[in-house]
Symmetry: C2
Subunit: 436 residues, 2 copies
């Protein structure tokens, strides 16, 4: 029986999950693969902390170099995270002829091109199912099964922290700050939660998904990114009154040779399947020209779910090696020479429906002042709520628009926010009511 | 550039979808594959009907033999359906060294073993993503990405006709017979709908999924199959009162080396994601020991969605051929010599919660008679509804049980249905309130 050896860089939470798969499911792996797959080396700066899992001391090392240069190791699993030294390690592994499996979305979103190019030159594979959607097999679905489709759109709930916070705000009517604090206490949010709550993590993942779906390169910097920290309980409550739920959506679209790529709080209809994806769950909805809409749902993070995705990739490489078919599918699903550079649409050029929450003094004629400014910029009103008012106080006025261009909305709001009756900057949330 | 040729058997609805992919997405296919994939031959008994699609007359033939013996054809796509001549054609294709892609669940559920064994001997691949769940990439998810998991359970909504009928019965309060008639008029149900509504189609698909998930062989005859024709609007209404929806579920479980495999109308909690899968959509929920729950959702049938799945398989074979890795993943996801023969649990041995609807004369003491029989067989009552009664008429009494064995339930109902006060055979629907 052929033996394939893997080496692990990073013995953190996900690393521990991977070790657990090797230990608990060794028999299953062999039954499926018909080859012996072993974990030969684990490198981490910390090899002394008790992780509650028994590992032969001889395979532990503090030197990544020992994994990267070990000629018996065929596959390097990179679970360090971040840009450096992960980037250097991955490039070194490739240079040494090793196949690479990584869960590192930040690395791929920023340095994917360099890594994939090096891998292709060297004839090794780089796989990264765990980088997006945790255990959900979304990357493989795009690259493999659904690969006969021209994709039209991607809508993803890709960050468990944001979804957990929005779900609790929705269910409890609580404000962002208090839920975040509790999420941190419970371990659902990092001590510094910026990457998650400001949408950076979701944007890394979207950069990968849009590239895979549309056969293009999407620079992370070109993705418009807006997080959830500005969402208030009031917006969530108004959304419900109109029949919507607020989710942090990663949105990718291709239309007329242009890409839209943005991460933003989005109102989606309550009866829509994505609206039911609550808590730390992730989901991705794709629309292909033949398959139509497809949704995949599951744990978007966590030790075991992510380890499942990592090991799926490792086993795919073993199968390729065993059958002599290494590199059967290119890293990004297209032959590299066929990857296009479609322009990413500027935010000013997108068209959307909008939820606008004005905070105005309760005076006669306020609505007329607002609506005339909207009208000047060809923004038409679909519906409006002005809750019962206490005379003299600042009151919310909520307007849902028909489709309008972002540029016009921005111009109208700039003028409206200058009006004397307007007390606070107007809140804007985009609506996706027909997920194409 | 390498050229790979496919031949198509069966130019019906799905066949037309496949031709449409070849025509509409030729450029995409080439960009992804880096090889030229062409449809060289189409065989159908009817090559004269106008299908609204333009095909070079020279590639049409009424002789399957011409496809099966053409030495230039690498891949045969079988879309004839049914057992024969599909079985003979597939075996002939394999014998002639051709790879096979099929959407034929009935064929695989009954003759899979013979076909896969022949293919392995000959060193060719048989792929069948389109056989279960239409465009949903469920088979590949099990065989490839999630293959590091020991699966615990599968719950599938796998038959669009049944789901369409149940959805309309639920939304409209209509009875089965009238909805079926309308579904037939609209083309959502066949003129002879038996295979669909009696659960046979779903059972074919479950035979394939249980085998793939659990690494075993499941004989189609061993799957308990109960369709939706006995479901009444009254049951749907009571289900809702208790917080449940009725769906035709295909259920597969593995526990202690035994398999459960059954297709049955099932009550599932309203707030459960599968409960929202309505109309002709299909969905499959899997639970793996590492990935946890995963759900895949999409069009379970139809020309284009099914063609998407067929072409995903064709492209996978092209990639394997191109990279020299044919046969990298065994047809059923496990090395053949490692496929087990776990016993399928007899229905009498399963344990479930039950919905029981008795039709009894409105007399004092009826409930006592029923509940004492249930108690004798260790069936305990979780809740009960006895709607307001019109004296002297037969009235429904609905009981939801705690977990009980099917054997005991059957014995208790046999006795209860003999009682003088019982007017009709008692209706039984199994409940799955914790989808493990």
């Amino acid at each position: 029986m052929k033996e394939i050896k893997a080496g692990l860089l990073g013995f953190g939470t996900i690393g521990k999950g991977v070790v657990r798969v090797f230990q608990n499911n060794a028999e299953l792996l062999e039954k499926r693969l018909g080859a012996r797959l072993t974990l030969a080396r684990i490198a981490d700066l910390d090899i002394t902390t008790d992780r509650g899992i028994s590992v032969a001391p001889a395979i532990l090392t503090t030197s990544a170099e020992q994994v990267l240069t070990d000629p018996s190791i065929d596959i390097v699993i990179e679970l360090i995270g971040g840009y450096e030294p992960a980037r250097s390690f991955v490039l070194k592994a490739i240079e040494n002829g090793k196949h690479v499996v990584t869960a590192n979305k930040a690395l791929l979103a920023l340095h994917g091109e360099e890594i994939f190019s090096a891998a292709e030159k060297k004839g090794v594979q780089v796989m990264f199912e765990a980088a997006v959607g945790g255990g959900i097999p979304i990357i493989s679905a795009i690259k493999e099964n659904l690969c006969a489709n021209n994709f039209r759109s991607i809508f993803g709930i890709l960050n468990g922290t944001c979804n957990y916070i929005l779900t609790r705000m929705t269910n409890e009517g609580a404000e962002f700050a208090s839920v975040l604090k509790d999420a941190q206490a419970k371990g659902y949010a990092e001590a510094d939660p910026t990457f998650d709550i400001e949408g950076v993590d979701a944007a890394h993942k979207l950069a990968i998904l849009t590239a895979l779906c549309f056969g293009t390169r999407v620079r992370f910097e070109d993705i418009y990114t807006e997080g959830v920290s500005q969402i208030s309980a009031l917006d969530i409550q108004f959304a419900r009154q109109f029949g919507y739920k607020i989710k942090l959506l990663a949105i990718g679209k291709k239309d007329n040779g242009e890409i839209e790529a943005r991460v933003q709080p989005t109102m989606i209809p309550l009866n829509y399947p994505l609206a039911d994806v609550d808590g730390v769950f992730n989901a991705v909805r794709l629309v292909g020209d033949f398959v139509g809409p497809v949704m995949l749902y599951g744990h978007g993070a966590g030790m075991d779910a992510t380890a499942s995705a990592v090991m799926g990739d490792v086993m795919a490489i073993v199968r390729n090696l065993d059958a002599g078919g290494a590199g059967r599918t290119p890293a990004m699903g297209y032959q590299r020479q066929n990857i296009a550079a479609y322009p990413v649409k500027a935010m000013a050029d997108i068209v959307s429906q909008y939820y606008l929450r004005f905070t105005a003094l309760d005076k006669p004629g306020v609505l007329a002042q607002i609506s005339s400014r909207l009208g000047q910029y060809e923004i038409s009103i679909a519906s409006m709520i002005q809750p019962e008012q206490q005379a003299g106080e600042a009151v919310p006025i909520v307007i849902m628009t028909h489709e309008a261009s972002e540029a016009n909305i921005r111009k109208a709001l700039a003028e409206i926010d200058q009006l004397e009756v307007i007390q606070e900057p107007t809140r804007l949330i985009r609506i996706e009511s027909e997920l194409i």
